[in-house]
Each structure stands twice: as C-alpha cells, then as structure tokens.
Amino acid sequence: MRSRLRTRGALALALAQVMTMTACGDAGDGDETDGGGTEGATTGASGDGSSSGEDTDAPPGACEGELGVTAPMRRMTGAQYRNTVVELFGGAVAPSDLFPAPDSSYQYSNNPEANVVTQLRAENIMLAAEEVGAAVADGLDGIWQCPPELASDAACAAAFIEEHGARAYRRPLEPVEADALLNVYSDARATLEHHVALGVVVATILQSPQFLYFIERGDGPTPEDGALLELTDWELATRLSYLLWDTAPDAALRASAAAGELQDPAQLEAHARRLLADPRARPAVSRFFREWLEVHELSPSAKDPALFPGFDQTLAAAMVEEFDRFVLGVALAPEGGTLAELLTSAVTEVDATMASFYGVPQDMTPGPGQWAAIELDPARRPGVLTRAAVLAEHANAATSSAIFRGHLVREGLLCDVIPPPPPGAMAMVSFPEGSTQREQSEILHEDPVCGSCHVYMNPIGLGLEHYDAIGAYRADENGAPVDASGEIRQSSSGLAATFDGAGELATLLAGAEATHACFVEQWHAHALGLDDRRDARCSVDGLTQTFLDAGGDLDAMMIAFVTSETFMTRRLPEVSP
C-alpha cells in the first residue's frame, strides 16, 4: 500500500482544514468553495448510514462547462524509455537500465512529480544515453544502412539524423534541430570514426528535452498560461501511442500524423482500436490497473515467514502475473469487457502455482509453465478485489487489514478522500494482543476522533475478512467463523449500503454510478499524469455518462476518451507560485 496523499497535497490540505472544524462524519453538506467534485471538501455526509442505494442528486461543485483539462508536461518514465529505445532501433539494441525509475511513492508513475530530474537522475540519463549510443555505434550495420546513393559520411549522417531524430522527437525535425545534431556529428567526426560519431549523436538525442519530455505546445506561437491548445497531429500520435503502448508511435501512426489525419476522431479511433488489439497494449494497460489498485511487485519478505512459509518468490510473482492476466482478460476482451465484470468476474487465468493457491482441482491444473483460463468459485473469488495480489498487497505482514482494504475501496474505487487524522492520533487507542481486525475496528470506531474517519474505511475492509494476509481464503479465524459483514457509509460519492462478504460488495460496487465515475477519474489521472484532478471534473462527468450509456464497457470508455476534446486539446497549467 502506498499513500496517494502526497500526490494530492493541496487537496488533502483543504480537507485537513475541514477536519479541524468538523470530523469526517460531521461534515454535513459543508461549504463548497473550491468547486471541488467527487473529491470535494465533504468526505462525510449527514446521513446516518442506514439508508441504502445511491444518491442520485448531482454532486455538489458541478462542472461549469469549461473545456479542456489542465495537464502538466510529462517526462518519459523508465518503462517508456526502455520500450522507446527498443522501438527506435528495431529491437537491435538493449535498452540501458541505468535510466532512472520513477519515484514509487506516487500512485501513477507518469506523474511529473515522480519524474523530477535530480542531479543523480540527470547523470543516469546521461549514462544510459551513452550506453545506448555505444550499442548503436557498435551495431550500426544491423540497425541502419546508409542509402547507397549518398556519397559522403556527412550526407549519410544527415539522413540518419533526419530519420532517427524525427522518430525520437516524434515529429519532423526543425531545420535548426537537424543542424544542431549534424554539428554534434561533425565535431565528433573530426576525431572519431563515422559510426562512433553517429553514436555520439544518439547519446545527444536521448538526453534532449524534445525526446525526454512530452512537449505539447500546439503549432502556434509561444502559448500563454492557461491557454487551451489544439494538439498537433504529432502530439496526438504521441499521446495515443504512449497511453496505449508506452512507446513511440509506430510507422502507421507516423504516416497518419504526417498526412494530417489525426485531427479526425474517426482516425484516432481506428488507430486506438489497432493499438489495443496488439500485444504491445498489454503491459501498458496492465500498468494502469496495477497503479490504480496499488499492486506492486510482491516480496516474500513482506510477509511473516513463520505464518506464511509458502509465500515464496514463486507464489508472489505468480500472484502479480495472475492479476495482470485477469485485468487484461476483461479490459482487452475482444468482445469488450465491462467494469462490472472486472469487479465481479471469477474467470481468471492460473498456472500450477496459482491453481494450488486457489484450490483448483488437480485435473484442471495447467502443466508446468502453462497458464489457462478457469472460472474460480464465484462465491469466494468474485472480481478484482479478491485477486490474491490485491488482497496480499493491502494487508499487514501477519494479518489482513480492514484499514488498507477499506482505504483502497474508499479512495481507489469511490474516489472519496480520507483526510489525515489529527496530530497525536496514534496515541489515542491501543489494541489488545491478538485482537481481530473487527475487534480493532470497533475500538477505532468507538473513539470519537478516530471513528469519525475510520467508519468510512474499516467497515468496508471488514467485508474482506475471509482473506488473510496473503489473500488466502479462510472460513474461520481463531477458531470462530469469520464475520464478513460490512458497510459502505454514505459519503460524497453517494454510495451507501450494508453487505455481507466480497460477493455482495462486488455487486454493490459494480452497480454503482459512483464506481464508474471514479474509474473514469482514475483513467484521467493516469492518462494525463494529473497531480490535481479537480480541473478534470467536467471531462470526467462527460465521459462517465458515455461510459454508463455503454453499459460500463471499458473499451468504449477508452475509445471515447481518446476521441474526446480532453484528449485532443491541452489546457496549459499556470505557474505554481
């Protein structure tokens, strides 16, 4: 579990101020002075929590019709860099792993704040570029052949620069850019051989801002703060390709961009469908789901080895792989999967390790190294919240965690914000040795300060008490049958109901508009690297309606997004003070 609080600092702060006046549960209707939305300033609601069903009133702080989403300028992530290097040189060059990884404490890895260039990162970007440059120089013959009609090394270099520079910068080079790279070549060529001098050019390209940053400036003059820009074809091709493939535009996208076709939403849609149907979409799309649900690489040492001796590297890795296969099985289903299926389906893929973990009968267990589709017991394994990786990630080393799991549903699936507790909260309660999650939650709930927020988290997480610290199913705990009754208290997202166990929770979430709106909001944050999502409110509202109209079809949502005004424009951020 990682906190998203830091990525939404300004918002958390606003909520903290509310908190000092009124605790979560007493916030009432609150003042909506910030035009907030689903994440607006009222986490709590005045309801007593006994009502069920959804609040169908329009949430406060509604969209006022402003177009475009303020999007920060993003920098290429480590994963995108590796894919891009492979793409640029036809797979002939191993991408350097010296390129810095994003700061993992931010939810979405393309958040610009996770990719700020420190001194060390600048050095590592340089070292990575030099490593790739050397590999290109040494392997030049297998990567690129100088057209035979070009008589001189200089002409050859110019052709190399024109082709690879354009692909790296994801648009045709401006003459001054080509000249600058040619100068780097000429200076190097004075003392070095031709192929090495081209390696120096590659090292330059891979450190250039045109390559490292997704620069979106339209094709007009220098834009003003807050301006709404129409993106160029090249910028659109780049957005689309990095969103769905995490790599540079391929030949077909480049051709469409060069032909000026991408201003046409139908063309964008056609390319999006093509990209989604390609295996290269798999890692990029699963990255969204992992980051959304905060599923990271699991480590055996994260769990108590005395209690969970079977939680070894093999099982930990298989859980994450199964998660990927499950979400992709829904999101990239040829016939189109829905958010409801994601939340309720028990159809997944397992290997022998996961088959054993889930208790799949021997005769249905795939052979070594094989993965096969299977339907698990829908009563025990409904939907993504009961995937082992999700449950193990959102748990303690030795025990499950009503807080983490409730927090995941509350912030990840409903987009409500739980503000930080007041100072000194840790000293307010203590838990008896060996107490269950339900017992600990009751202590928290009864405390007037802790309880005002924890009632919004723990009662949801308690509905997942059938799953232990590594996500294994359990009927009993400490010799008594598990009580998995839970409750979603009404808050700003509007959903309120009581339920029993993961199946009912999944069904509730699957049927809620709030879950669909939140999913669309998460997609916006991922797609645009948003640090502050409030400005995306109008776009989220509009796309949510489309999403609901399409029956929650994930494919339809993604296609609608990439053909929307939000995708095709960019509102420039204001300079932070």
């Binding site: 990682r2 830091r6 260039v117």
Partner: protein, 474 residues
C-alpha cells in the same frame, strides 16, 4: 539485474594462462587513468606536491554488513582504552588502535514507520535517521499510523551524502557506492541524496573497473569510452536544446525544463573535476574467478566481490576519484557462504531464516563464523587503506570509516545498541584505540557528531525529536 553485459575486460588486458594446480583467475588490468578529464600521463607522475596532512583530502567511507551481528557478545570487554576484543571482532585485532567501538546507540527512528516491515524500516533509517517520506505530511510532520505507508523512500539524505555535499570535492564523482553481492538492494535502500532521492549501487566489479580505471589502452579505446570523450560537446548541445525550447513553451513547462537544464549545467561543471591523485594512485589489480557473477541466489561469489570492491574502493580513494564511498553487502537473504565451508544446515531454507531462528548467536559456531567473516573483510579494507601511502602518511589517516549493520539482533529485527565501529583518525580529528558506551543516545546523534568532524555546522541530523545533539566522541 538483467543489465546487458558490457564488453569484457579491455582487449589489451593480459590474462593469466591456466596452470595446473592453480585456480585460474582473470585479472582485470587497465593502463591507469580515469574516464573523465584526467590526462593519462598525469597518473604516471607521482604527485609529490601532496605532502602534509594539512592539505590531504579528508574522506568518509562506509562498510555496511547485513543482519546484525553476535549481539550478545559483540562489545569489547574491559575499559575504554584497555579493552579486549570479543570473538566476532577478533579479525580486527591488528587495527585495534585505529578503531573506536561504540555501543549503546539506538536506531529509534525505524519505529517512526509503524506499518513497515522490519527490514524496510531499519534499512531506510539506518543512515538517514528519518522516517519514510510517505509518512510525512506536507509540513514535514509525521503522519499517524492510519495514514502511514508500508514503504517509501527515506524522508531525508543519508549521512554519507550530507558529508559529500559538505565536502564539495573537486572529484569526478561525489560518491562511489558499491553493492557487494550485486546492485539489488531489495529492502535495503540505505543511501539517499535527499528525501525521495535513492542512490543506486554499482554491483559489478567489472563494470566499476571499466568505469573508473579504463582509459583502457589509449591506443585502442572502446566505443563507449570514445562516446564518453564527447560528453562536453553533447551536454553543450543538450543545453542549447533546452534554451531553444524554453522560448517556445508555456511558463509552467518552462519552469520544469529550466530545473532540468540546471542539472545539465552542473554535470558540465563536474566534467572539469579531476581530483588530486596521491602518490598511492595506480591501477588496482582485481582478481575474479572464472564464472564470476556479481549476483547469484546463494551469494556464491560474494567473497570474491568483496575483495574486488575493497581494492577498487581503496584505489578510487588513492586516485581521488571521490571522497565519499560506501560498501554495502547486499545479499542478506540467501547467501550460503560456501567459502566458510559450513553450508546452511538442514531446517533452514536461507541464512535469513536461520538468523531469525538463532536466539544465542554467540553459542552457534557457524553463525559466529559468518558474522566474523564480515569483520575480516573490514579488517582487509582497513589494511589496504593503511598500507596505501598518501603524503607522508596513509589513506587511513585521512579517512573516517563507519562500519555498522542495520540491526544489532537480526533475529528480532532489533536496532538497539547498534554495532558501530569507527576507523581512521581523519587527520587527527578522532582519537582512536577506544571502546565507548553511549547507552541511551540515538544513532542520529552519532551522525550529528560525524558531520561536524567534516565541517557541517548543524548540531542535528535526521529526525529532530530523535536527535537532541551530537554525542561526544571524546
């Protein structure tokens, strides 16, 4: 790490031919010199100008060994100056008068991270004394447990990087950081340049050798070396791209680009840093056995990597490539220590499991041997520093070495009374040959004292409430 292998040793490197009865080893040799900026011939000329301790560079080195030690029989017995070493410390006997043993310092800061497992918390706080950045709110205050994360980067820099920042040494590298057992630190990310700025380790002796000591044969440089030789020109062109773009984008974008361009300018500046190689500077002879891999499941080559990295570190210091360095033994989970000839006895699936199971390490000869091995490596490190001349004395006299572990007692993830050894007298600034008890103090207070030895004026380090001030080293 699946980093593609770099070209093997420089083509000019001689290799010993296999001889019957001898273990064949591949020797890495370079012609001397460093990658960045330093003219090749410079190194062949003894730097007699570097003479007295007054103008000798001061250095800070770290030796970090995992999983604690023989906690119940670690501290030397006897008095402050007439002490006797315990069995686990026995390999350090030849250097006893160059050491300060400190017991009693607690890493209380690991417990600020209440949701973390013991390893992440201990590792990230050991050298930073700061809670996770994810456990701090926007004002830098600690979040309550419900809002805490189970892991994130440290909320501040590690002591080595604070000292590097203070020294501002004119060396090609601000610090050199080696992972004995490989670059993967797993739960033990210990070095941070600042909050949220983890520093990675070099895990391959071969790659470090290539990076630091191969201008190779100036007659036959590798492609990578040739490309690096164009660094100044490349960074210059990159800088110009930033400048040009700045005039074309909006103000917020420009702000981000300018912040990055600043770092490029700092890189350019560091290119002219050549350090001041001392008379001990030369090319290390690094021996690696055939089949050597920096990172294996059982840590099969850790003993070889240890000696190689120690030799590389010592020579890097002698050549003034950096003045701050860390050796971190990264293989804490499954090393099998085959060179000790014990094996991991049945019933334990890993060294890690074994550590957890051993209540009385002093009573278990195998466990004692493992922990003592690390002290033997420390002794070798000190020996090499002590026999490398610099000016009229040795490198060791101009160094401060910190040796410690993230735990005292690995079986229960305890970080109380950390096993701390200081070595070297830092040009006379530290009085050695002592064993002292600073019971009741926090380990951040030690770092507050160490940073002052290097001229940092602040009297606090890490998490303020756990650092009332520097401990006395006198």
């Amino acid at each position: 790490m699946n980093r593609p292998r770099k070209p093997a040793a420089p083509s000019s490197a001689p290799r010993t031919s296999p001889r019957a009865g001898l273990r064949r080893r591949a020797f890495l040799r370079g012609a001397g010199g460093i990658v960045v900026g330093l003219p090749f011939l410079e190194l062949l000329r003894p730097r007699t100008a570097v003479a007295g301790p007054d103008d000798a560079p001061i250095r800070y080195l770290q030796f970090i060994h995992p999983q604690g030690t023989v906690w119940n029989q670690w501290a030397p017995t006897g008095g402050e100056t007439n002490f006797t070493l315990t069995p686990v410390l026995a390999p350090l006997q030849p250097h006893a008068q160059e050491l300060v043993f400190i017991r009693g310092l607690n890493n209380e800061s690991m417990w600020l991270n209440q949701l973390s497992n013991g390893h992440n918390a201990a590792g990230r706080t050991l050298l930073t004394a700061m809670p996770f950045s994810g456990n701090l709110d926007g004002q830098g205050d600690l979040l309550p447990v419900e809002q805490q994360v189970d892991n994130s980067h440290a909320g501040g820099p590690s002591i080595d990087q604070v000292i590097a920042q203070q020294l501002q040494a004119p060396t090609p590298y601000a610090s050199l950081n080696f992972g004995v057992g490989g670059a993967s630190v797993n739960e033990y990310q210990m070095l941070f340049g600042a909050a949220d700025e983890p520093i990675s380790l070099d895990g391959s002796p071969q790659e470090v050798f290539d990076k630091l000591f191969t201008n190779g044969d100036p007659m036959a440089p590798t492609t990578a070396e040739l490309i690096r030789s164009r660094r100044a020109s490349v960074l210059d062109a990159v800088g110009e791209s930033f400048t040009k773009l700045n005039s074309q984008v909006g103000a917020a974008d420009r702000q981000r680009l300018e912040a990055h361009a600043d770092k490029i300018r700092e890189l350019e500046k560091s290119l002219s840093n050549t350090g001041k190689p001392g008379i001990g500077c030369g090319t290390p002879e690094v021996a690696l056995p055939p089949g050597f891999q920096p990172e294996t499941d059982g840590g099969l080559y850790d003993a070889d990597a240890s000696r190689a990295f120690i030799d590389l570190m010592v020579m890097a210091m002698a050549c003034d490539l950096a003045r701050v360095g860390t050796l971190q033994y990264t293989n804490y989970h499954g090393p099998t220590y085959p060179w000790l000839g014990h094996g991991i006895p049945g019933g334990y699936d890993s060294w890690h499991t074994w550590v957890h199971a051993v209540a009385d390490p002093a009573a278990d000869p195998t466990v004692l041997d493992v922990y003592r091995w690390y002290m033997g490596e420390l002794a070798y490190f000190l020996q090499r520093l002590g026999e490398t001349p610099e000016g009229e004395s040795t490198l060791l006299d101009h160094c401060l070495v910190l040796a410690t572990s993230e735990f005292d007692n690995g079986s229960v993830h305890s970080a109380y009374s950390l096993p701390i050894i200081l070595a070297g007298n830092l040009c006379g600034r530290l009085q050695t040959g002592r064993s002292i008890d600073r019971g009741g103090h926090y380990h951040g207070e030690l770092f507050a004292a160490l940073q002052q030895l290097f001229g940092v004026e602040s009297s606090t380090f890490g998490w303020g409430p756990l650092c009332p001030g520097p401990i006395s080293l006198g």
